[in-house]
Symmetry: C2
Subunit: 197 residues, 2 copies
């Protein structure tokens, strides 16, 4: 962050996102963030009411940034399996490129404040989830659409949530961190299941 230019809300948020992701809400202090931005702690309170507002805005901004394009891309395709491949491919690529975003998502799910959670769910998560649920329904399968949507998301996300532990477990190989490998595995497993006839 340049010491010359004045900082605005967005500059602060873009610096706060990876820090909140790595350290968590309690783990990132206003002093630490301020020093990274290059200002005094008091300056943060000129842009945000309090730490809570800064956190919610950071998560919202990160999510909107990442999911801006996928919704229109998914709407374009109409063949169910093709749409699934497009979504899984996009999701895997996003998580693979930006580990901080994945960690932020994981932290939000652990948030102990129900009000914060409700706010973030309604304003930022709902739209994308509905699109995935709609994708699940298009398969006209026997599965409950809600549970199927969660399964699809979890199946992709969990490979990244465990990335730091996985490398210490048996059977781990370098290829498992590649986006293509994970995408192909997830797509194939979702498509065919374990009993490939």
């Amino acid at each position: 962050m340049s010491r010359l230019r004045k900082k605005n809300r967005l500059d602060i948020l873009n610096l706060a996102i990876p820090l909140f992701a790595r350290l968590g809400y309690e783990g990132l202090s206003m002093r630490n963030l301020a020093s990274k931005v290059g200002v005094t702690p008091a300056a943060l309170y000129h842009h945000f009411k309090d730490k809570d507002e800064l956190y919610v805005d950071a998560v919202s901004h990160a999510f909107e940034q990442k999911t801006a394009d996928i919704k229109t891309v998914m709407a374009a395709e109409d063949e169910p399996m093709k749409r699934l491949e497009v979504f899984v491919g996009w999701f895997v690529r996003v998580l693979n490129k930006d580990q901080d975003f994945q960690k932020l998502l994981q932290r939000v799910m652990l948030d102990s404040d129900p009000q914060r959670m409700q706010k973030l769910t309604k304003t930022t998560f709902l739209e994308l989830f509905s699109a995935i649920q709609n994708l699940g329904e298009s398969f006209k399968s026997k599965y409950d659409p809600h549970l199927l949507a969660i399964s699809i998301i979890g199946l992709v996300l969990y490979h990244f949530e465990t990335s730091s532990v996985r490398s210490l477990l048996p059977g781990s190989r370098a290829a498992h961190d590649k986006a293509d490998t994970i995408a192909r595995h997830v797509t194939s497993l979702l498509e065919n299941g374990l009993l490939t006839h």
Copy 2:
């Protein structure tokens, strides 16, 4: 916690587990824990070197407590699909009964300290993971054993990781929180996939 009996390590750990799960490492202070135990903060330092040791011991103890029986149960069955059903059923039931345990697992994955992570992985996670990986291999499918193990675990776990958000999303029903519903959904999806022939 009785005020009469003397407290030992295990009493403290069993009180610390749900608190660490709900509040996180930074979120739970030694003073808060001490007051719940019914002792002075200094008393905790009689049983544990520092907060870090207390946390690691709490996670280890929680994990060993929960996974004590499943390993032998799984080894008894030999038909792959039956073993999968046994594992999924057990895992779903454990997570459903004890939400704190699930949250603790999730927090461990977010731990920013690599040394803590490594210690916990080798001493507590490795054995159960190997058993699941072995289960995946028994299907003699085309899938990579390591990736398949992660997929199976994630597919179950994610339904619980999202439980507090899920209820705010469309398509949510009360049945989705029942252990049987989730177990049946996951087993069936793993078995057959989306394209049920």
